[in-house]
Symmetry: C2
DNA sequence: TGTACATCAGTGAACGCGCGTTCACTGATGTAC
DNA sequence: TGTACATCAGTGAACGCGCGTTCACTGATGTAC
């Protein structure tokens, strides 16, 4: 192994985060394992019923083990939601990547993806948005949320043939967000099937995108 | 006191519900008092942090007392939410009573009232709609919800110059509901002030009503 | 290379806590005669 | 009217439970020489 090789290796190691390296010690990746246990429990029973003890049982470790990786219960939930939001972002990019830029179809696809995420991961979605007190307040979470909304705003601007994010663009973006956000909650609560008659979800997503993007 | 007077009195007594009469025995109206305590706690700490014990402390009775009026903890929450929904209905009627029928202003006013309720009673609103598991499932709750949505549908039909609630009316009504529903959650989470720039809430409510009522 | 040492992920037991619900009871109130 | 009785709202103590977090510890692994 040459000196150069060694240096490259050292650089690669430095790029791996401290947290990840630590986990290799015993369990291997208890942190990731606990995040996954947290996710499953939140999906199964909801965030308010989630308990550290049960996550430990799922992961097969003692109840004290998580405190080597997370500050407290809340920190576990935050870490899990951050992972969820990253998944959500990836899927958003994937949803629009083959659609013509500036097309309302991209707005519709983003809306569809929002609803899909809410339906696929209702526990995570509601933990992120459904809390009343003890809202998850974490700078990183805030940052990811902002950045994700910016994606939508850029798409709205493109549809309107604009390059800047004007007040008008921001309002239309916010209206779209409000709509798919509320729709997600109502779908969770079965309100569309109970009270919507035979409304077609796909049609409605396209219809609202057109209505909100249309000039007055 | 004549025989007729006595009969009238007896009739008046019969009209009073059994439940209410019973409560006059000792405390007077412990049931109402516990519902109010439940409401305050849910507003202060959220439904998942609400405890029977604390409601008892607020009402100044022993922890066993509520079980003379409610089946269990869940029953207390249901009773409180039902009371909240009745308030909401009353305010909806008040909001539109002076506006010309068939006008989009009535739709806007109903939307405004929806958001107002969500902002004034966030704890109750989120208990009704924010739960993931252990959703409140009560036939009476369901019935009130349906009836309330029907009010909106009738207004939408009137705006479109229709008398029947067609599939089109139902879809537009559902789109309006989704919008104000999501908007309410986002307002709770401060998303409008954090990420909405200087969007005017009042303008947005009027704008979305127009867009959704407009012909394609 | 082999060995001695340092690190620190995970253990197991314990803690204090507030919870929802139950139980036999008490005593204020309404009612029948 | 006065009295004896029945009702049942509210009591106070107890229960078993699972929780979040802490602590001194153990022992597997990485590292320096």
């Amino acid at each position: 192994m040459t000196a150069q090789d060694k240096q490259q290796l050292a650089e690669a190691r430095d790029q791996t985060s401290d947290a990840l390296r630590k986990e290799r010690y015993h369990h291997g990746d208890l942190r990731e394992c606990l995040i996954e246990a947290t996710r499953r429990l939140v999906e199964d029973k909801g965030a308010d019923k989630f308990s550290v003890s049960e996550a430990c049982r799922l992961a097969g470790v003692s109840t004290a083990a998580p405190y080597k990786h997370f500050r407290d219960r809340n920190d576990m939930l935050v870490a899990m939601v951050i992972a969820g939001m990253m998944r959500h972002r990836e899927r958003m990019f994937a949803a629009i990547k083959d659609l013509p830029s500036g097309s309302p179809l991209r707005i519709k696809a983003l809306g569809q993806e929002y609803v899909d995420f809410a339906l696929n991961e209702p526990g995570v979605f509601r933990l992120k948005f459904g809390g009343y007190t003890d809202r998850l307040t974490d700078p990183q979470l805030e940052e990811i949320g902002q950045a994700t909304f910016e994606i939508v705003l850029r798409e709205v601007a493109a549809c309107l043939g604009q390059t800047d994010i004007t007040a008008d663009v921001r309002q239309r973006g916010f209206m779209l967000w409000s709509f798919v956000h509320g729709l997600s909650f109502l779908l969770h609560d079965q309100k569309l099937s109970d009270m919507g008659g035979d409304i077609d979800l796909d049609f409605m997503l396209g219809d609202i995108a057109e209505r909100i993007l249309r000039d007055v």
